[in-house]
Symmetry: C2
Subunit: 167 residues, 2 copies
């Protein structure tokens, strides 16, 4: 705010408050973009993998009994069309397998194959180490304090969205 | 960490530390994804715009004298091909104009047209208000403290990347 023309109190409140929130959002976005770009680079370089494939396998990893395409699509916030073509390529590579749902034979469940679990397990371990390296200058207390701060951010955003965005 | 089997000290340090950093990264990603998805929804609903178009216009907004396609592509961390097709559509809509660079007639500068500046100005004001709404439960002190925490995150990530990822 230094070096800006002086504003009267009312304008100042309106202006300054919104700018502070915008700056916070931009900093949050910068942190995420930096980490995500580095993870993307390393997945490519060390595993010849893409981030969307990694994210999809991460979803399947958690649910060993399999998921429908619709469930995967919802969890990843990605369109069903995009998920279908990702899954097709992962099936072709041998990492993912399809089987009919035991509850509804018309729908298919997809899950990691044994080979896919081995592949993802190696990537997940590397990913965890990369993230630890990137955040290595933060001590335990820094991490705990940042977790708390971000919990407040998440709570505010979730509450606002739940109110239908009327603040 | 509650309810997990006891580990010896060495394993515990390695395991626990990495998990904490991974959890922090996932929380950061969750906050960003929530806000970004909401901004995307509202841009679509209220301005019939997409986030990549908004981001590109935001870059041009800052530099009134114009930028080359290469500069835009670098700043947005998006491939030149994607930027070209975005720009083509924005030119067609009348929001962006091309002119030869005064320094190098073979390269073109792109910038917002007057109509584009009006359009983006309205969106930017709305965007700032949306973000303020989403973060409305944070007081001034919360915002300042979160900014500081994220500055540490950003510094750690940047330093690690500068070291070539050798942590």
């Amino acid at each position: 705010m230094d070096g800006q023309p002086r504003l009267d109190a009312e304008t100042k409140v309106a202006e300054v408050d919104h700018k502070a929130e915008l700056r916070l959002w931009l900093r949050l976005l910068t942190c995420t973009t930096l980490i995500e770009a580095e993870v993307r680079r390393r997945l490519r370089r060390e595993f010849d993998e893409t981030l969307p494939r990694f994210d999809l396998m991460a979803q399947l990893w958690r649910l060993d009994h399999g998921m429908t395409l619709g469930e995967v699509s919802k969890r990843m916030m990605v369109s069903a069309g995009n998920v279908t073509s990702l899954v097709d390529r992962l099936v072709k590579a041998g990492y993912v397998e399809r089987r009919p749902s035991p509850h509804d034979r018309r729908s298919q469940l997809i899950r990691l194959s044994r080979y896919g679990r081995e592949h993802f397990g190696r990537m997940a371990a590397a990913h965890e180490a990369w993230v630890a390296e990137l955040l290595t200058d933060l001590g335990d207390k820094d991490i705990a304090a940042t977790m708390e701060r971000l919990a407040k951010v998440k709570a505010s955003v979730s509450a606002s969205i739940a109110r239908g965005g009327r603040g």
